[in-house]
Every structure is written in structure tokens, then in C-alpha cells.
């Protein structure tokens, strides 16, 4: 298996009024094709910066970002993104919102074909019958479902999710977790999920990366060797509880509350 996403020694600083702010420091990370990688870390450690680097929206001071064996030098049409804020366009219907990436990536595709593709996805996420509604007429969970459809409508090979479930209530969030597994089965992609919810990372990911506090670097990698889809009650297995405890400790180290040695003991 080849690494679809490969981050090699990435170091980055933002230029601010108070001088350079180092955000990432020699970060390494690789995600094999078809795998689901979750990144957790203290807030402000550079997770969103990492997503922008992978998407080619900005470039690191040092180090390299590789996608599909190619060095990222500009944005690419094979990336899909979703954020905590669903950023749906209020002047478009849900269907037209989902179509948006196709207008950029495949401008010559017939309109009927674009719409058929969008409808297929919307019914997959349970939004059948809401195609002609405006975003404001939908609940937060439904909007996030539509946003997920938009992020995969053009069949990206890399899906970048920056805390997409962060603003949802606990029950809606669990629904969407299960939906993620279902989407993975139907629409194969390689995913990088930023989250601050450890349970979410264990339930969804094949690999959880803990980033250190700012400037962020790879502090710990946990492999979750379980098939997808997973039953939600896997979270209550002894194995999961142990994983969660391990991640919990690593986060405390990342936050600087526990010295590293103590956590390993």
C-alpha cells in the first residue's frame, strides 16, 4: 500500500505583528490509501494549519507535503474539505450547494448528470426530499450532512475534515459518526479528520495521531486495527477504554500538564 498523504518534516510559522509564531515543528505523518487518520491535539497546536497545508492552500516554510506521490505545489481537484461551520451558500438550494464542486472540477459535465450525482449522495445521507430546501430551513445536523455530500461529490481521493462534528449535539454526532463509516463503504476515500473528541477518533479512525502543543509535532501514533464499519458499542469494549486512556494521557502531555516520562510509566 502506498502512502496517499505523506507529511515530511513540515515546519511552519505565521508572520504576525509580534514576530513569527511557530505553529508546526518537524511534523511527520503518513496515511496509506483508503485509511482513515484522526488527528487530535490541544487547541491552537496547528491542526487547521495542517489541513490547509495538505489542501495546498498554503505552503510550509520547511518540509514537504506529498499527495498521491506528488509534491503539493498548488490546490488540487482531488481534495474534498468540510469544516465545523458547514458554510453552505444561502442563495443556493441544498442540491445546488452539493453540486458546487462539480461546477469547478467538471464544468463540462451535463447538468442532469451533476444533479443525479448530488441526488444519489443526498439520499445516501438521508436528505432525500430536502434537495430544494434552503440551508436555513435545515437543522445543524442536516446542514453538516449536506456539507459532507458537497465534500465528496467530485469523488476526491483525499477527504479533509476539520472538526466537522464539533458543533453538533451528542446524539446527532453519533448519527454522523455512523454515517461516516457508511460513506467510507460506499465512496472510498482516504481521510484526515481533525477532532477534539477522543471517542470520535477511536470510533472512526484506523490511526490516531496526537499532536504536541504549539508548535505542533507528531507526539504519538495509535493504530486502531478494526474493520470499518464498526458498531457504536465498540466504544465500550475493554480495548477501546484502554485506547481512550492512552490517548487521554497523551493529550495531557501535549497540554504540558504531565511530563512525558510519567505518561509512559
Amino acid at each position: 500500500m502506498t502512502d496517499l498523504i505523506a507529511i515530511k518534516g513540515v515546519t511552519h510559522a505565521y508572520q504576525t505583528d509580534a514576530g513569527p509564531l511557530p505553529v508546526l515543528d518537524n511534523l511527520n505523518l503518513s496515511v496509506p490509501e483508503g485509511r482513515f487518520c484522526a488527528v487530535v491535539g490541544p487547541s491552537g497546536c496547528g491542526k487547521s494549519t495542517l489541513t490547509r497545508l495538505i489542501a495546498g492552500l498554503m505552503f510550509p516554510d520547511k518540509g514537504e507535503v506529498w499527495l498521491h506521490g506528488e509534491l503539493v505545489k498548488s490546490p488540487r481537484k482531488t481534495v474534498g474539505m468540510a469544516f465545523q461551520n458547514p458554510v453552505l451558500l444561502e442563495w443556493r438550494t441544498i442540491l445546488q450547494n452539493v453540486i458546487l464542486p462539480l461546477e469547478i472540477v467538471a464544468p463540462s459535465m451535463p447538468k442532469a448528470k451533476k444533479e443525479a450525482r448530488a441526488r444519489e449522495l443526498l439520499s445516501l445521507v438521508g436528505l432525500e426530499g430536502f434537495e430544494d430546501k434552503r440551508p436555513s430551513e435545515l437543522s445543524g445536523g442536516m446542514r453538516q450532512r449536506a456539507s459532507l455530500c458537497r465534500s465528496i461529490v467530485h469523488k476526491p481521493d483525499v477527504l479533509i475534515l476539520d472538526e466537522p462534528f464539533g458543533a453538533l449535539d451528542a446524539f446527532t454526532r453519533e448519527d454522523l459518526w455512523q454515517l461516516m463509516h457508511q460513506l467510507r463503504a460506499e465512496e472510498p476515500f482516504t481521510a484526515l479528520l481533525i477532532t477534539h473528541d477522543l471517542r470520535e477518533s477511536v470510533y472512526l479512525a484506523d490511526q490516531v495521531v496526537v499532536m504536541s502543543g504549539r508548535p505542533g509535532t507528531t507526539q504519538y501514533v495509535l493504530n486502531i486495527d478494526l474493520p470499518s464499519p464498526r458498531p457504536i458499542d465498540m466504544l465500550y469494549s475493554a480495548q477501546s477504554v484502554e485506547w481512550l486512556a492512552t490517548l487521554r494521557k497523551q493529550i495531557e502531555v501535549a497540554q504540558g500538564r504531565t511530563p512525558e516520562k510519567e505518561a509512559q510509566a
Binding site: L57, M81, V87, L89, E90, W91, P101, I104, R150, I160
Partner: protein, 256 residues
């Protein structure tokens, strides 16, 4: 929504009728002569007598206002785009615009009239433009600069060009603010046109009709011009409202 919402049409008409009735009653009660205060019933004869002048001059005022406003839309939007998309240009232009906007336009009219002697059409359009482009520039600038980065990123991450992002996201997202400003600008442009017609008279437009009413001490005519101005103002305003419905109707809060 089906059919016509009668309440929406009848209520404002009723309000106008009540307003005119109170006005009429008040003048009658006070026994004011027309040179102090004309009553609505005095206005109609004035209107009717000068109906062709009213039509002709309304058109004169209307087209200069529209051309001035059109210029405002073009220049204001361009300025707003420059300021909204470049932090540095915003810092550079903002104080200039604020200062320019603060100058009372009544003082500008004679200067413009001197600068371009005899170019009445040009002068009028210019003042209508100068008085009305500011709100448009500011609203477009604010609309563009407050666009959340995620909105840009969903398209930029797919390699969309700056123009595509502007066309598909930034521009439509700014439309509600733009129309809000346009409602202010349309009235301002209208005021600008009349200002020139009265301060630097060139014998055309409703302002000049007002002036001839003043010179002839025809008070009902002067009041009738005021009413005509109000009607024309309402007309222009609602044209903008209709355009807003068409192009930014999605931003309207729906009854729930």
C-alpha cells in the same frame, strides 16, 4: 404564497389617505392661507394645471438621478472591491472616503458648477454620483472583507480562480448588504440631483419647477412639487426593493 396580499397594498394606501385627511383638516382648522401652508385640496389644481411641466421635469430629474446612481453603483462597487480585497488599500482609502463624504454637498455644487460651466447635465449627474457612492463602496468593502475564510477555501481548495470565487461566492454573499446600501444611495442621488437644480439652477427638473413656483409666489405649486418629489422618491426606492427581491430574495427572513 399565492395571489396578492391585499393587506400589504391596502394598509399603506390607507395610511396615506389618513395622513392627507389630517393635513387637510389641520390647515382648515387653523384657517391658514395657501402662502403659509397649502392643503392637499389646493395641490391637485396646481398639479393639473402644470401636468405637462410635471411630467417633463420629473423625467429630467429621474434620468439624471438614474445615471448618477448608475455611476455610483459602478464606481462604488469597484472601490468596495478594491478595499474589501486589499487590507492596505482599505487603510489607504477609508479616511479619504470618510472625509469626502463628510463635506456638505451644498458647498460642492457651486464648485462643480464653476469647474464645468454650462455642463448642466454633467454637473447634475456628477453631484448625484458624489453624494451617493459612499454607502455602496463601504457596504461592498465590508461584505467582502468579512467573508469567512472557509467560504473561500471550499472553492480555492479545488483550484478555482480568484474570479470564480468572487463570482460564485463573494459577490452573491455581498448582495444583501449591497442592496441595503443601494436603498440609501438611491435617495441620496435623488437629493443630489435636486440640490443642483435648486442651488445652481439650469432650468430643468423638478427643482427648477419648485424655483419657478417660488419666483411666481405660487405656493400650491411649490407644495405640489414637494409631493411630486416624494412620489418620485418612493418610486425609485421601490424599484430597488423589487430588484432586491429578485437578486437577494434568499436573504429575506421567511415567516415561520
Amino acid at each position: 404564497m399565492t395571489g396578492i396580499n391585499w393587506q400589504k397594498i391596502v394598509t399603506p394606501i390607507l395610511a396615506i389617505v389618513i395622513f392627507l385627511a389630517i393635513w387637510e383638516a389641520w390647515v382648515w382648522y387653523k384657517g391658514w392661507p395657501t402662502y403659509v401652508m397649502a392643503a392637499p385640496s389646493d395641490l391637485w389644481p396646481a398639479f393639473w394645471r402644470f401636468r405637462w411641466l410635471f411630467l417633463e421635469n420629473s423625467w429630467q430629474t429621474l434620468w439624471r438621478t438614474m445615471v448618477g446612481l448608475g455611476l455610483s453603483v459602478i464606481v462604488g462597487t469597484l472601490l468596495g472591491m478594491i478595499m474589501g480585497l486589499s487590507r492596505m488599500m482599505n487603510d489607504a482609502l477609508y479616511p479619504l472616503l470618510v472625509g469626502f463624504n463628510a463635506i456638505p454637498k451644498a458647498t460642492v455644487v457651486p464648485i462643480v458648477a464653476l469647474l464645468f460651466i454650462g455642463q448642466h447635465d454633467f454637473n447634475t449627474v456628477l453631484v448625484a454620483f458624489m453624494i451617493s457612492f459612499f454607502p455602496i463602496a463601504v457596504s461592498v468593502a465590508i461584505g467582502l472583507s468579512t467573508l469567512e475564510p472557509e467560504y473561500r477555501d471550499i472553492l480555492r481548495s479545488l483550484g478555482a480562480s480568484r474570479f470564480t470565487i468572487f463570482w460564485k461566492i463573494a459577490l452573491p454573499k455581498t448582495l444583501p448588504e449591497f442592496f441595503g446600501a443601494l436603498k440609501v444611495a438611491v435617495t441620496l442621488a435623488f437629493i443630489g440631483t435636486n440640490l443642483v437644480e435648486i442651488v445652481a439652477p439650469h432650468g430643468r427638473g423638478l427643482g427648477s419647477l419648485f424655483d419657478s413656483g417660488r419666483i411666481a409666489s405660487n405656493y400650491p405649486l411649490m407644495f405640489a412639487v414637494l409631493i411630486a418629489l416624494a412620489l418620485l422618491g418612493i418610486f425609485l426606492y421601490y424599484i430597488v426593493v423589487i430588484l432586491e427581491r429578485i437578486f437577494a430574495g434568499w436573504a429575506e427572513r421567511r415567516p415561520t
